[in-house]
């Protein structure tokens, strides 16, 4: 899942793909690099400039239309917590709603159900959209996340979202400090054991930065290490800024797990 930020202020790319032309080229590169899904969002996750519904629609919806026209086979994910935006995105051909703020808008699952779109269930510990964690504590963060996400997945399925399109995302760093995100990565097999496909959104996040004491531009190696461990433990979808590197990591892990053959083996066999 390639991250396409239609924002002027996202933490990683600082608006590099805010322009439609650049964003479209980025989608093309992501597809060529192996992305199966593009996740298009118009609002920075962290605190910042207020973005109302109209502005989010202006940023995202015409672009979804362009992507659908140019790349008819790619899965388009709309990264939004607002049902108004989700509805318009689905009308333009979005296949999946990435509800990063955990049903902050309770009408969002109904939109996915209406369009038979997929749905990403997230865990935020009850945080308000675009707020950062503050002293969140959990008796067992993994048990809390598993319980919350399974309940949310069943909830959205009961609202009519196709079960085959539902993913669960522990949502690293949302409502969690670095220790919590590390623990979720270490025990992500417990999420996979629920039977719901697990989306891991790890890319260049603060928990990687704090773990390695590196700034946002230097988090690729840490992200890829966490990606490899998560893939090994059963996560199946990876939201990433770095598609080519992530695909190589996932291919390597798949071969090591025995779920995919090596690409070319001739050495010593001739």
């Amino acid at each position: 899942m390639a991250i396409i930020n239609k924002t002027p202020d996202s933490f990683y790319d600082h608006g590099a793909t805010f322009d439609d032309g650049v964003a479209l080229a980025t989608v093309g590169r992501a597809v060529a690099d192996g992305a199966d899904i593009v996740d298009i969002g118009g609002v920075r996750a962290g605190p910042g400039q207020h973005v109302d519904v109209d502005e989010e629609v202006r940023r995202v919806i015409p672009f979804v239309r362009q992507v659908r026209a140019r790349f008819p086979d790619i899965v388009i994910s709309a990264d939004t917590w607002r049902h108004e935006v989700g509805r318009l995105a689905c009308e333009e051909g979005a296949d999946l709603i990435n509800d990063t703020w955990a049903c902050a808008d309770p009408s969002l699952p109904e939109v996915a159900a209406e369009f038979s779109a997929g749905y990403v269930c997230s865990h935020t510990g009850g945080a308000t959209p675009r707020t950062r964690p503050h002293r969140n504590g959990y008796a067992d963060v993994v048990a809390e996340v598993v319980g919350d996400l399974v309940a949310r997945a069943e909830h959205v399925a009961a609202r009519g979202v196709p079960r085959a399109g539902i993913l669960i995302d522990p949502t690293h760093d949302f409502g969690k400090n670095t220790w919590h995100s590390i623990e979720l990565t270490r025990r992500i097999d417990e999420l996979a054991a629920t039977g719901w496909p697990v989306l891991a959104s790890l890319s260049n996040k603060d928990f990687v930065g704090e773990t390695l004491a590196v700034d946002v531009g230097d988090r690729l190696y840490g992200t890829l290490a966490a990606t490899a461990v998560s893939a090994w433990l059963g996560a199946t979808v990876f939201r990433t800024h770095n598609v080519a590197a992530t695909c190589q990591i996932l291919d390597m892990v798949a071969v090591l797990k025995g779920t995919k053959p090596p690409a070319r083996v001739v050495r010593g066999l001739a």
Binding site: G46, G126, H134, R135, N136, G137, W179, E183
Partner: protein
């Protein structure tokens, strides 16, 4: 009667080990808290007051709540102290070699009940020193909004650890 009051902030990052490696600005804060708490050495009774899920006294030997904030470091036992009292216990340890009383005040306690609780503490016989765990307005900001379960009352308290006679 209460003859001395020390106030310290209560961020979980003051719990032992929670910062991972040593973080200089946190160690500076920890040292300031130790210095302030050392001023309570001469009182007869040290009473710690801090926000808690319920208004009640907590056993001084209850486990720290470190595991709630740093899973992987330690487990998070169900009888762990609330963060405020846990931070206080950790700060006192190594500075004062004596017992303390840990008083949790429920987050939702009305102001008048808090005053009454304070009056009862003030009427205690002997020389009482109070350690108040509270950080007021330091808890606010666009990058550190309160969690849904935390207290929401704004405060004008000083940001730094302080003591007064």
């Amino acid at each position: 009667m209460i003859v001395q009051v020390v106030s310290c902030p209560q961020p979980p990052l003051l719990l032992p080990g929670v910062t991972g490696g040593l973080v200089p600005e946190v160690e500076k804060l920890r040292s300031a808290c130790h210095e302030a708490i050392a001023g309570l050495a001469t009182v007869d009774t040290i009473i710690v007051v801090g926000g808690a899920p319920d208004t009640r006294e907590y056993p001084p030997d209850a486990p720290l709540p470190t595991g709630r904030f740093a899973p992987g470091l330690t487990p998070a036992p169900s009888d762990a102290l609330p963060a405020s009292l846990g931070v206080a216990t950790a700060l006192i340890d190594g500075v004062l070699d004596r017992g303390v009383e840990l008083h949790g005040i429920g987050f939702a306690t009305p102001a008048e009940e808090c005053r009454q609780y304070g009056r009862r503490l003030a009427e205690r016989p002997g020389i009482v020193g109070l350690l108040v765990m509270a950080d007021g307005s330091a808890r606010r900001g666009p990058k550190a909004t309160p969690s849904p379960t935390s207290a929401r009352r704004p405060s004008r308290c000083s940001r730094r650890a302080w003591s007064s006679r």
